[in-house]
């Protein structure tokens, strides 16, 4: 079976509309980076960069005054900073899942959205890394986390999950960036070869590293891509597992749970898919990419959201069950009382309804294929997943073992400003990416088209097969290829 042929038994369809030519695909995708930005882009960019400005102001004030400008206080010493960190890292996970895991499983539809999702991963991890960076109180001493010989003759404590986190998230960011850049090289070459101005040619040419589509290069390139995908797959599962160990290795009821690593990974993929969908829907309508990002892809993503929502729902139920079954009074007080009926009951309701109830609409095809519905649902899921982290972090702390020290947590305006600011940073980076780099992996999309099949003589556009005597039937060629280079 030819690679480009959809497996109809599995309900697959052509990735790109039938009859599209290779040049049309290049044009559709790359033109976005060559023409003036549509008005929608400028409006979004204006909003996003204003939020980035807000972020800068709030962080500057934080550095000036110290972490006292946040709402964190006894007994809630971890609050929005870590909530936002976990939320952003989780969002990144869908990108790697789409680019690596779906690649290994040969899910061709991923090609429509993988570049997007990878970019999202990188920008989300940048936003995530900001929080541990600024929450340490004295950010100029952040370099203490690195194992380097210093005048104090001290080394980091490698038995601390917080240090594992430094390595996990740092590795995750670096590998995602390498993976993304490797995938971009052939498309940067396409941009270089289409450039009309000297500057574009120089910049894209520099970044394309002299890529010339050589088959000898493609061979190593494809192997590199495969290896990167293969090592990213366990990596992505490890990253959120390690993040969850920041909590799970402690003895706080609500954190001290063995289900945390898989539960965090499922939640990460869930929220990440929701964010991919939000961003994809915006890009699809602003840049009119309906020819590449088909309703089919969106429907598949919605099915995935439903699946991961069920996984997350299972984890929630399991936490409750184990708290009750353990018979431990602190566990029971936390899960059966403080969460649903404590002072933050509303956060718990947000979490439960957005994460377990909202995605249930995707049992129905009419909902899975309705764009306004899925846009709203994807945002609700993002909100719900933010509240999940808030519930885990703040609700486990606000009523600790000693009732006399119980307290409430209120964010300050700076908390809100920094969080909203990172959303601005994320979208600013994303909008710049959409303007300057191909949003869809051009070379990969071409590889899934009928024209990519070398045994299909008539696939080439406006190409007439010359019926010369040396044109052997396809089967003969496929069977009797000369294994050259043997002598």
């Amino acid at each position: 079976m030819a690679y480009w042929k959809p497996i109809t038994e599995l309900g697959e369809a052509h990735l790109v509309q039938e009859g599209s030519t290779l040049a049309e695909v290049t044009d559709d995708i790359v033109k976005v980076t060559e023409t003036a930005a549509p008005r929608g882009w400028w409006i979004l960019f204006g909003i996003a960069s204003s939020l980035t400005g807000l972020f800068t102001v709030c962080v500057a004030y934080l550095f000036y005054r110290g972490v006292g400008v946040w709402g964190n206080t006894a007994p809630v010493y971890w609050a929005w900073d870590i909530t936002n960190f976990v939320w952003w890292v989780g969002i990144g996970h869908a990108g790697t899942l789409i680019s690596a895991i779906l690649f290994i499983f040969r899910q061709k539809w991923r090609t429509a959205i993988n570049r997007f999702a990878e970019a999202m991963t990188i920008f989300a991890v940048i936003c995530a890394l900001i929080f541990p960076g600024i929450h340490v109180g004295r950010p100029w001493l952040l370099y203490y986390v690195f194992p380097f010989p210093n005048q104090m003759t001290l080394w980091p404590n490698f038995k601390s999950p917080l240090l594992w986190d430094v390595f996990a998230v740092g590795t995750y960011f670096t590998v995602s960036l390498l993976f993304w850049y490797t995938g971009l090289i052939p498309d940067l070459a396409t941009q270089r070869d289409r450039s009309m101005t000297k500057w574009r040619q120089r910049v894209y040419g520099f970044l394309a590293l002299g890529w010339r589509g050589s088959n000898r290069h493609w061979q190593n390139y494809e192997r590199a891509y495969l290896i990167l995908a293969a090592i990213s797959m366990p990596l992505v599962l490890s990253v959120h597992s390690v993040v969850s160990m920041d909590f799970a290795t402690s003895v706080i009821p609500g954190w001290h749970t063995t289900i945390f690593p898989p539960y965090f990974v499922a939640g990460a993929v869930f929220s990440g898919f929701a964010m991919v969908e939000t961003v994809l829907l915006i890009a699809r309508s602003v840049f009119k990419l309906q020819r590449v990002v088909l309703m089919r892809h969106l429907e598949l993503m919605n099915k995935f959201l439903l699946l991961t929502s069920l996984l997350v729902g299972y984890a929630y139920s399991m936490e409750f069950f184990v708290a009750w079954y353990s018979g431990n009074q602190y566990e029971m007080a936390h899960f059966l009382h403080n969460r649903p009926m404590g002072p933050f009951w509303w956060a718990w309701v947000w979490m439960m309804s957005c994460n377990t109830l909202v995605p249930q609409i995707y049992w129905f095809k009419s909902m899975r294929t309705n764009i306004p519905v899925m846009f709203v649902a994807s945002i609700l899921i993002n909100i719900g997943m933010w509240f999940e982290r808030f519930v885990i972090i703040v609700l486990s702390l606000n009523r600790d073992f000693l009732p006399s020290s119980w307290g409430y947590y209120r964010p300050t305006i700076i908390d809100v400003g920094i969080f909203a600011g990172t959303i601005g940073v994320f979208f600013t980076l994303f909008l710049l990416f959409m303007r300057w780099l191909p949003m869809v992996a051009v070379a990969e999309v071409k590889g899934t088209m009928p024209q990519a099949d070398p045994h299909l003589a008539h696939a080439g556009e406006e190409h007439v097969e010359p019926h010369g005597p040396d044109h052997v039937p396809d089967a003969a060629v496929a069977g009797g290829l000369v294994p050259g280079g043997a002598e």
């Binding site: 390498l178 490797t182 396409t190 590293l209 192997r223």
Partner: protein
């Protein structure tokens, strides 16, 4: 003739470039170029063409071995680093586990894993660049204006002058015989 007009008379052919309209045509032509005994030649396609490695007689990529070497370096490096820093140079006892004892190993697993992955990723990317001899911003094929579509929708075969069987007239005739859409000789001034 589409050959670039040389500024001085000293220009010599560097590469012959044939353009094809489809993956099917370039694969068939590549098969015959290989059969004709050429070794310093290549195909240039907008995406990897299935079966081309076999037709060109390429051996399997060696990249996996490079990555393995990097991965083992990451793994052993991470172990040595953690053991030396927390078990030897500045002993940090956590959970009453004797420094350097096997019981300290489980807490090392996350970082052993992460550094193995990190080094493997660098091995894959840098190894790929090394094997492909990239970055290389200057190459004779870039002299052709038509070659710009090699990253869009056209397929090329290039045969380099350093190939022992290279002959401007005969090689050109060979490529023209494959119903190439266009054949051109790219010349280069000798260094």
């Amino acid at each position: 003739m589409d050959a670039k007009v040389a500024k001085s008379g000293a220009a010599v052919p560097a590469v012959i470039l044939a353009e094809f309209g489809s993956a099917h045509d370039v694969l068939h032509a590549a098969e015959k170029v290989q059969a004709a005994g050429y070794r310093h030649w290549d195909t240039h396609t907008p995406f990897p063409v299935h079966g081309m490695d076999r037709v060109m007689g390429l051996r399997d990529s060696r990249l996996g071995w490079i990555v393995l070497a990097f991965a083992l370096t990451g793994l052993t490096g991470a172990f040595v680093m953690m053991h030396w820093m927390n078990g030897v140079d500045y002993v940090t006892v956590v959970g009453d586990k004797p420094p350097g004892a096997p019981q300290t190993l489980p807490s090392m697993v996350p970082i052993l894993f992460e550094l193995t992955i990190l080094l493997s990723a660098f091995g894959a990317v840098l190894g790929m660049f090394g094997l492909n001899k990239l970055p290389r911003h200057h190459h004779p094929v870039f002299a052709s204006d038509r070659f710009r579509s090699a990253t869009d929708d056209k397929f090329f075969i290039s045969i380099e002058a350093e190939d022992p069987k290279f002959d401007v007239v005969r090689t050109r005739e060979l490529l023209e015989g494959f119903h190439a859409a266009h054949v051109e000789v790219i010349e280069e001034e000798p260094a």
